[in-house]
Symmetry: C3
Subunit: 395 residues, 3 copies
């Protein structure tokens, strides 16, 4: 489809994204999610066809990361750069940011000439998303009281609840692999826990996936060993979504069983809800000995489930023996990145390039979220870019 | 006032800012300071009205920070970006810069394609400003000997003597609050020491404030507990300025007394001159035990002056019970950021948003200093920007 | 010569640089090296004459540094910025990159919207250049399999074998000092080991110099104390080059003798090959005690050769007592940066500004390598830039 047709599709959607932060997919309407996908696809195609969607002549995009991340950092930087914004990192080591009373001050201090803020804060259960909302409120006040000339839009780059840039990139990948969102109806996707030698991986990916994919009429199965529950409220959202969309949502506790006849599989480790709760308390109290103990307990428990590895044998039981394997990367690949991991090397290798394609949508999803936030009429702006004939490589 | 009128005002000023570094306000003429304010205001209004003052198509703005600072870092980055320069940080951890013989080499190595250098070096008494002048000399030589295609302009982002981007932003804030520089005549401003649980805060803010505000016919009162003196030479500058400008300058040692009838109050902690002298010696000798001892001594002495807190009660004694409260942020707010601090929470909250406005001028002051340094005829360039119709948000 | 004439010179060269990484000078033809010099000179002249060669409207230039480097970091940033690319650093502290299996994944993850990647990896013998080729292969695969919309070009910013951006900047400096590459014929250049109080300096500079300068008909002499050998294969390349170019290549072991009648001298410390081999093994095994021992042994051995210092006395024996002194900087200057060093302060001071000029070519060499990689027809693009009338300082 050419860009023009995509813009026409976008024009038919009823959205209210202008000036709204992107924090959780379940706060957005179906049309709004479609619009994010559409704008992302348009921006990607523009880049591929050497059209430059540089809508800003200047302006900052601030990234606030509470942990390290090559992938998300580069995705954010790419998105900002594509639209014309310069990235300014706000690492805690470089600055004085903190939770609590100083948030509202700092939020304003970094925003005088800022158009977008990306925040990654997935360390503490019950904190990351809350922090983003604190920043948002501070920005609202700053804009209202004329401290800020415009209200920077916030993009959630991963929190304790959701990882919307990941799940939306995953959705765009599925749309491309299966031809359309409509084609996802009736497809079986298995979001499965998988063994990893590490401990404490965030729950935001599985939560994001089940909450999002249940909106497209898919049969979503969440498989994990007893005890590895996710946040209950988010599981409820998935259940509701499945009902509304005419799909299904099921929780099960046997990996190999779950994989049977799957169209799509997403085997990935995470830490159980109750461990994350304990961990958050210990972290808050800076109880290092307690954390060490918890880690040992958790790893010991994990070790019981080394057979939760996505294998060639399992793959053969999936739909046509060829379920689309997905992962947010990096995966724990058995005998490659670790001894026992989430996936057999042979299987991973088969879908490796596809996981790269999957990851490749993320910069455009982020750019799309920024874009939708800043323009009241994205259709007109995208058309304007096309008409302007601006080239990315100028000569 | 519209931009056009501001440009006309600027045109009437007699300045020699082109190619000159901005290191100390007292090295600049009255017209030059006015020009900096005027250009800053024009750049701000351009940004607000979606005019893009991106005068550089490429070029670096190098920041050299010897301590961490979110606020100044972001202000510098915003200023550079607004004018079209990319920020390149020169953190000491990332590089090999040092005082002494290597300064002149490094200054050239980072400047081959650089237009502006912002330096923050406020750790050592007698060193920060000296270091900037060392860099400046090295750049002069590099430019003269054709090592550098142009001479980057230096902006002092805080040194041991002055904090001109802060004091000039403060002045622009006052101009806006009171309507004009002329209206500042006869106003009483109190720069007061205030209690803080921390130790060793630089003297550059109070020094910058008294040296600058005495130029506008204000009644400037510097209040601090006995012993918390500033650098004597800079106090003398304030005295001279007051005489010339028809204002007054007074040193006093009772906070509550000083605040009476004040139009503007600036309560802020700093370390006394003699402590800073001792500290500098100890730092140079890397005498960690000595530093620890000095800190204890200083904190113990500070603790005698916990009543140097700007309170609601004091506020009521100011002009109309509503003196404009100023602070360079972050303030030590009692019961918020610390138990006992510089200001009562209730008072701070009343003026909180105004302190944000105050801070919001800093990016534009920095941009203005860069701008004035690079263009022989800023009036023509600003007019050229307006005429070009360049938009910041392009669509 | 004006830019137009330089473009004409470039047009006569037969090159195949488009889409090719720049990893080793000896993989490039004579015409290709000439083209890199010519493009660098054109870009420099454009910058000097306020023409803006900003060929990219957006895009990232990724820098991967395995050690700290102010100079190269700033050169890379300047080059990227000049062409319109935003720098995104990939410090290991900030990310999850590693040798081995994850290289191919990370290489793709950082490249979705990336045009150029600069890599500095000079720590391990036999590793740095290999790593670059691993990245290159991963990028080839990513581009071929449509993971990447374009193939980022790699520039070697220093590896265990070569330091092509340094040696090519040095060559451009020589071309400027002596008028032309042709004029270098018959000139004597001495690449000499020199004493330094530090240990383990990479061999890439001397290796790069002897492998490159032997191509221009010069009499290249490599002087070092017995035992301080370079990688034998690269010495062989120098020998071959000398034969082909009609120059000469000679290894000797007496500094003062070597310097006699030299036109150009390059006294610089390095660690011997066998020490580097041992060091690499120890580093791989994380044998810290072994490394400590090796360092002591190496320093002890170095100390025998404190008289390998380039002195005023030696200088007087060079051609007309005025051989061009070169150094990649920073030099170990006796009684300045250290007690005993590579060069006497008095001598260094005489050529100090010239070493700055030498260094000043590096940003343009890097920009040239990026440029040549990205454009099939650099002549047309350079002409297009000229014709467009784009200014760097816009007003």
């Amino acid at each position: 489809m050419n860009i023009q047709d995509k813009i026409k599709t976008l024009a038919q959607l009823d959205t209210d994204l202008f000036g709204k932060d992107f924090l959780l997919t379940w706060e957005k309407s179906d049309d709004e999610l479609k619009a994010i996908l559409e704008i992302a696809a348009i921006l990607k195609q523009m880049r591929d066809e050497n059209v430059s969607p540089k809508v800003f002549d200047s302006g900052l995009a601030v990234s606030i990361f509470r942990d390290n991340s090559t992938r998300t950092r580069f995705s954010f930087a790419s998105a900002a750069n594509l639209l014309g914004l310069a990235v300014q990192d706000m690492d805690e080591t470089k600055s004085q940011i903190a939770h609590g009373e100083t948030v509202r001050e700092t939020a304003n201090m970094i925003s005088f000439l800022t158009d977008a803020i990306g925040i990654r804060d997935d360390m503490y259960l019950g904190e990351g998303n809350k922090y983003m909302r604190e920043v948002a409120e501070a920005l609202d006040e700053g804009y209202e009281k004329k401290v800020l000339p415009n209200r920077p839009g916030i993009v959630n780059l991963q929190c304790d609840m959701d990882h919307p840039t990941q799940s939306m990139a995953d959705l765009l990948h599925l749309k491309n692999e299966f031809g359309s969102l409509e084609n996802l109806k009736g497809k079986k996707i298995v979001m499965s826990w998988a063994y990893s030698p590490s401990y404490g991986k965030p729950m935001s990916v599985p939560q994001g996936i089940i909450a999002l994919m249940t909106r497209y009429g898919m049969d979503v199965e969440l498989a994990y060993p007893e005890g590895y529950d996710l946040i209950p409220e988010i599981v409820d959202i998935a259940k509701d979504n499945a009902k509304k969309s005419g799909g299904s949502f099921k929780v099960s506790h046997h990996m190999a069983e779950a994989m049977k006849d799957a169209d799509i599989v997403y085997p990935k480790s995470w830490a159980p809800f109750h461990i994350m709760q304990e961990r958050t308390e210990l972290l808050k109290n800076k109880d290092m000995a307690g954390l060490k103990k918890l880690e040992q307990k958790a790893l010991l428990n994990n070790a019981k489930f080394k057979d939760w590895e996505y294998t060639e044998e399992m793959r053969k039981t999936t739909k046509d023996g060829d379920a689309l394997y997905m992962h947010c990367l990096p995966a724990d690949i058995s005998d490659v990145s670790c001894k026992d991991g989430e996936v057999e090397a042979e299987v991973f290798e088969k879908y490796r390039i596809k996981t790269y394609h999957e990851a490749g949508f993320k910069p455009y999803i982020i750019a799309s979220m920024m874009f939708a936030n800043k323009f009241k009429n994205p259709v007109a702006v995208l058309q304007g870019i096309l008409d302007s004939g601006a080239k990315r490589v100028r000569f």
